[in-house]
Each structure stands twice: as C-alpha cells, then as structure tokens.
Amino acid sequence: MKNSNLKRVLLMLGVMAMAVLFTACGKKTSATSVKHITYWHVNAQTQGGATVDELVKKFNDTHKNIKVTAKYNPDMYKGLMQNLQSAQASGKVPDITQVGWAYDNYFASNFKYMTPTDAAKKFDGNSKFIDSNFTKRTLSFAKDSKGHLVGLPYSLSTPVLFINKDILSKYNIQEDSLATWEGIKEASKKIHDQSGKYGLYIQEPADTWAQQGIMLSNGADIQKGGKAAFASAGGVGAYKYYQEMVNDKLALHTPWAQGMDSFIKGDVAMAFTTIAQASHIKKSASFNAAAIEAPHFKDHKTVVPVGGSMLAITAQDSEQQKAAWEFEKWMYKAEAAVTWSKGTGYLPPTKVALESSAFKDYVKENPMLDPAVKTLDNAVPWTSFPKKGLQAEQAMIDARDKILSGSDVKSTLETAQDKINAQQK
C-alpha cells in the first residue's frame, strides 16, 4: 500500500516536472524566434489579392522567424483608412499598411508610424537600401507637405491614352497626331462628324487625378507653396478645352464604369485613364487596342500626377518594426515587385525591378505598359494639401462637376481655389 502511494507521488512529481520543462521550452521558443506581423492591403481577389497571398506565402516559407498575415480591406484606401481609425482607437494597429497617395498628409498627421529613413538607420545602420532602390523622383511621391518621407512607394500608375486602332485607321487618323490635346480634338471631330461616335472619354471617378494631369500638361500648377494655384491661365485653358469637348459631344461625360464600358464596346475612340485598366481592356476589347503616352497641350510638356500607394510601417513595438522592415525589404526585391506588378497592373516602384529582364519581358508581351513606364519620368506627386486635403479633393471634384454641367470655368475654378486656400490657414 505504502509502496503504491509512493509510486503515485513520484509519478505526479514526474509529470509536473515534465510540464514545467515543456512550458519553459515553449516560452523560450515563442520569445526568441517567431514574430507575427500583419499586413493591411486593399487588393481584392480581382485586383491582385491572389498575388498578395502568393507573395506572403513565399515570404513565410522562406523566413522561419517572421510570420506575416495579410488582411484585405474592402472599399480601397478609403475603407482601409476607416478600419485603421478603429484599429488605432482599440490599440491593435497593423504592422504594415498600404496607404493611397491622396491620404498621404491625413495619414502622416493623424497616425503613428515609423519613417523608412528611421527604420533603415535603426535596423540596417545606413540608408543604402532606400538610396539604391528608389530614384529621388519616386521618393518624392511618398513625402508629406513638410517634405518628410512617410512610407516607401509601392505601386505606381500613370494615366495613358488608350486608343481604338480600328476606329483611328478607319477615319485615317495618325497616332502621332494624338500627342497633343489639340490633335485629339481634331481627331475626335473627324470621328464624330463621320460616325456620330464620341472621340474621347476622360475618367471621372471620385477624384480629379486625370483632370489634374490635363491641367499640369498645360503648364498649370495644382498647388504652389502649400496653396491651391490651379485657377491660373493654364488650369482655366485646360478645363475650357474639356468643357468644349463635352458640349460639342466630342467627349463623353459619364461615370467611370459606363465610360470604360463604352470604350470597350467601341463607341468611344480614345480613353484617358489609368494604366491599371490595361489588363481589363486587353481582356475585354474586341478591337485592336493600344496605349500611347499621356498627351500635352501645344508648347507644353506632359506632366501627370502619379497614382498608386505606399507602404508605411505602423508597428509600435521595436521588434515588430524590425520584422515589418524585413518584410518590406523583401517585397521590394525585383522578383517580388515584378510578380506584384503582373498581378495588379501597376508599375513596380524600384529601379532594380523596372530594369530587370523579367519586367522588360513582361512589357514586351504587354506593350500597353510601355508608355506608362516612359511617363514615369514626367510624373509628379499627387497633390495632397497640408490641411483638410480630403475636403480639398472634394472641392476639386465639385468644380469638375459644375464645369461639365456648363458653369463658367474661370469663376468656378477660382471659387474652388479660394475655398481650399481658406482651409489652409
């Protein structure tokens, strides 16, 4: 009896000892090796979401100490910002966040983040990674109004002019003549007079990205010294051109989805829209479609605002920040950046990726991308006003709506400009 009791006690002690030992081992493992980080992005399955998952899986397979979880946020950058607000309020922020250019200043002045410059200095000891991968122009896209780098440019896009080559050849229009907006007007008139079709569609989503490109290519500034400056002769001239085109039924004025649908069905000969539409056009159009560089007005050069997003480190803990930086650097490797570009239709942001043979081969197979890559040299940051930037964008959307409904161009642009400048005080 005594013996069996002793055995029982010994057995229990043994089990307890093992339990303590395993617990200690377990603790040690989780503390030193695997770091879990979350990556918030906006790519739905139809917009490169599968590529994001593929890249994250590849990273996780090759990095035993970091585990990344990607989280898709619906409703693009706006939806992501809304979720980030709730996350900040509850204290559970993601470690890496994709931020659209339009939210640059709003993000910088309202959220806590680690700048890439600080991350490189802290974890690499130098800024070699940033300097060797990005051109100064590309980095300027991701700076806030004070000139500080907020994140690293991740996806880039520029507007291009998509053309229906079948319509152009039918009405004997040379592609070279479409390098200027004046040439496009002439071509549109020819097409409209002979076929009744529209010549041009300019994208009209809930931003004025494309319209800013037209104004910039007429020598206008959108902002100067932190103040709105688009109601200049160049800005007014560009919008007068656009208004006349719509009034004369040479340009189609409808919401984005309908406008692109009309281009794809061959009812509009040219579409001025983002390069991110290339794969959709290639897949859906039954005519010979091509893309050419964004046009400019006579005596001016092409200048366009860049579209896309940057990656910002929102992790707060030093170890998490380190893991996030590691993941970010991997995502910018040429192979990963090209995979990302193929999956989303955006252009890769790094010099290495743009010059890689994999990307060059990809452009050869998809020649529509070529003009967009060339336009990158003429791209400027998407205007982000220092204060109340989102309301400033809305004021510009309102001005566009009013002008296309027939309002006087000069006074409408001046009113919008004054409204924005009053908010900058």
Binding site: K78, D261, Q394, D398, D401
Partner: protein, 294 residues
Amino acid sequence: MHNKNKRFLPFLYLLPTAILLVVFLVIPILYTFYLSFFDWNLIAPTKEFVGLRNYLEVFTDPVNQKVILNTLIYIVFLVVLNFLVPYFISLVVKFFISKMQGVYKVLFFIPSLFSLVVGAMVFTWILNPVSGPIAYILKNFGIAMPNWSNSGILAITVICFITNWKVFGYNFILLLTGLGSIPKNIIDAAKVDGIPKWRLIWNVILPMNRGIGIYVLILTIVQGLQYVFTPINVITTGGPYYGSSNMIYQTYLNAFVLYKTGTSSALAIVTFVIFLILLFIEIRFVERKAKNYA
C-alpha cells in the same frame, strides 16, 4: 416577497433587449448628438467646440439645401413607385384578377432576394446611355437615350427605379396580405347591397387596411431613403454636383469620405428628427385605427 419578484420579472426579461438597444442605439445617438457640436476629423485627439455652427451649416449651405430638396423629391418618387403603384397592383390582383395570385406573388418577390449592389451594377450596364442594350434598341428607332447620369432629376428617377425593382415585391406582398385579412363577410355584404367596386375599395377596403397601409408608407420612406444609398454610392456618388445625393448619402460622405464628423452628425440628427416625426404620424394613425376597433 413573491409579489415583489413578479413585479421585477418582466424587467429582467426585457433586460437583454434593453442592453442591446442602449449599447447599439441609444448611446450612439447620444454620442452623435454630442459630436454635432464639434469640429473633429474622427481621429485627432482634440475636438473643437463650435456650438450650433454645424446645424446652421445644414440649413444655410447651398449644397445641403440642395440635398434636403433632393431628399423630398426622393420621398415623393419613392411613395409613388414603392407605395402607390404596389398598392394599386395589389388591389387589382386581389379584387379584379382571381387567377394565378400565387404566381404574381413569387414573380414580384424574386428581385428582393438579390443584393442591391448587384442590381445597381446590372442597371448601370443596361441603362448605359451610349452602349447599353436599351440605348442600342432606341438607336435603331433613331432615338438618342438621354445621358441620365448628368441630370440630377433623371439620376434620381433611375435610382428610385432601381430601388423599386428591389422593394416592390416585398411591399406588394405586405399590402396583399393586409387586403386578405379584411373579413370576407363585409365585402360580401357590400356586394349583396350592389355597391360598385370602386366605392367598396374607397369606402370600405382602404380604411380597413389603413394600419398596414400606413406601415408600408412609413417603411417606404424610411427604408427607401436608406436603400437608395447603395445605387447612389455605386453609380453616381451623389453627382452631378450633389444632384442625386440625399441626406443619408451626404451624412456618409461627410463622415467617412471627408471626415467632417461635426457636419455629418448634425445632418444625421436632423434626419433622425424627420424620421421621428414620421414615426409619430405612424403611431397616431395606427393607434387611432386600433382605438376605432376597440
């Protein structure tokens, strides 16, 4: 002791619902009311107190005035399309067509099973003024389809039709059920007396079905204004120049696109008060009916 327990028991049973209502309805409404006196961007640590400025803005800003007027236009259109037309058709089906009532019920109800986002996208495609199937058909007859998304009133009409496609069947069935619950002996008595059908409907059926009628009317307005949000968001985003926006979309735009929570909250509170008045009217009418029959 036993009696005391009995007195508290109903409150105990009501507690779970009361907690849910307080947490998800009462507190948010009170917080919205509080926010309507501030200028705040949803995330900044400080809120600037602005007094009644946000409310003044709701009534004096020309954009908001336009949006309030649009809301009234939406209400008129919704009442006609989603209340009067289904009421008329349910009367026709109930009293003039005796066959295939079940088939109509099913046919009319099917669209309400689809998501409004899907509906909005399909209609955007069908009604594309240049390249949609309807535009092509009209073109064959030499008619150019108007570019409806560039005109506020046409955009409102199309958006109301999309909502109509979604809620018509539901409202139709509610009204038809209401008509079905009117005691048959009253109708038969009227028939025996040789009262014409239109008099029977006007003087007997409609007053007796008033409870359901008012309920569907209020539902049409309150739910309809929320339903139109989806097509506005998907198709026009409130344009052209707020021509198709309404108070609910404007509240959303200010809160979650422009991050002007103060203006948005003031708009929400004004909308809330309007809905409260409508609810008051409903209770008055429905209760009056209940009293009449008591």
